[in-house]
Subunit: 253 residues, 2 copies
DNA sequence: GCGTTTCTTGCAATATCTTCCAAAACCTTC
DNA sequence: GAAGGTTTTGGAAGATATTGCAAGAAACGC
């Protein structure tokens, strides 16, 4: 087997599994670990994989391109539930604003069949739709906020000030009776512009956010129209939401 | 069996299997390895196969510059060479505009250590930098042009009209004595805005683009400052570039 | 911290490539 | 059909590239 053939097979394997140990790969192509290591170094210079201790990972995995690693596994199934439920609430042909954040990302994953027009400031969401050319996806400009893959800053805010949409699908760092908050000032300006640009504002909030207060205040409960969550809302917050005429949807299995 | 017959059979075989070792091929056509090697060299000069250590691989003609797939291996090593060379030409702390396209993507890959400020309309480039929080990356807004992962449209053009950068690193579909052209009208407006926003314009053009005329004319040779490529430029184009005072850099091993 | 795993580096063994040459096949010309 | 020249072929020698291994360095997990 020639070197290229081996590298091709390694690449193909990684396309399937996204990550593999060198040992595993050396067995796959029936050669020493040294050689596999060299192959992987070569594939790295080509930008196809990224080397890690003990293995190699595909640079551009097909599907979930972005790993919000720290929070990714956290509350995963809840977020998926919320995502599916929220996507159900969207009418076909509505124009959407989709916020960054893992929960919103999961909404986006279930939206594809509905073929709406989508406006987003989230790189992961943009990547999700980049391959499918069925629907029009507009990306706000902005500076990349690295950990989250969000576009922030004046360019992003301006972009949202220029448009109008039927629905904004948002996420946040916390919700209390005082309103909704998020973890970084840079996000706040943009989220306000998003809320302002949408006729209807839906917040996707997993239950771990209830009663939590993040550092920057985003808006009062009055400003929003619906909350999609995975568990019953605590009584106090529920009362405040009712008073603010916010509809609450609980996604259940 | 004549030489041509043999080469035809080698070609046919490679169409099926994509790779083959010389040994394998020599058995197939029942001749010495030396002869097969010569055949493969000939097929390489015709651009049908690519030689590798120990074998031959079919070249895959189905890609053009802007079909974006980082795993695409068409002209890969050339693009890598260009990418590295072009990245070398960038001074630390220069602000950059990076165009979409595979060649520019490879430039971006070698830029990371330089930590400049980067402005791009390419989703793949944005993704590349999204994880590394060393440098500031600004993404132009715009509609995702699906196949390519480029952001296009008014939002993108406006974003580039607002900024100024030291260098623009660009790619294109073709270059002739008449100037530079590209394959999609949507790209043209944006690329013009990019060129206008940069003090210095560098085009990364692999040798397969020489003499090729894409559908939309982008600009005259006067408008650009430097061409980075992988082979010596054909005489006629070279003369035109000299007349337009364009510096030509050839990336070699 | 400390033991373990993995990585890097240098090296020798092996495989392949290049370059050359002589033999064979083929073509031209008479 | 034979002589003389050209092209193609197979192979050999030295150059180059690849491979697997081992020792020390670095990174990781506990």
């Amino acid at each position: 087997m020639t070197g290229e053939e081996r590298q091709k097979r390694i690449e193909d394997h990684l396309l399937k599994v996204e990550f593999a140990s060198l040992e595993e790969l050396s067995e796959l192509v029936d050669t020493s670990v040294s050689t596999v290591r060299r192959d992987v170094i070569l594939l790295e210079t080509k930008g196809i994989v990224r080397r890690t201790h003990g293995g190699a990972r595909l640079v551009n995995p097909k599907s979930d391109e972005f790993t919000f690693n720290t929070r990714d596994t956290h509350q995963l199934s809840e977020k998926e539930l919320i995502g599916r439920k929220c996507a159900d609430l969207i009418q076909p042909n509505q124009t959407l604003i989709i916020d960054a954040g893992t929960t919103c990302y999961h909404v986006a994953r279930y939206l594809e069949p509905k073929a709406p027009q989508v406006f987003t400031n989230s790189l992961p969401v943009a990547n999700l739709f980049a391959a499918a050319n069925k629907l029009e996806v507009v990306v706000s400009g902005g500076v990349i906020y690295p950990r989250l893959g969000v576009l922030v800053g004046p360019l992003a805010v301006e972009a949202f000030q220029k448009i109008r949409a039927d629905v904004a699908i948002m996420s946040c760092g916390g919700i209390t009776t005082d309103g909704i908050s998020n973890s970084h000032g840079l996000l706040i300006d943009m989220q306000r512009a998003m809320i302002h640009a949408a006729r209807r504002v839906i917040f996707c909030i997993d239950s771990s956010k209830f009663g939590r207060q993040s550092i920057s205040q985003l808006c009062d409960l009055d400003a929003i129209d619906m909350v999609v969550t995975d568990k019953l809302v605590p009584a106090e917050i529920g009362k405040a939401l009712k008073k603010a005429e916010v509809e609450v949807v609980v996604a259940a299995n």
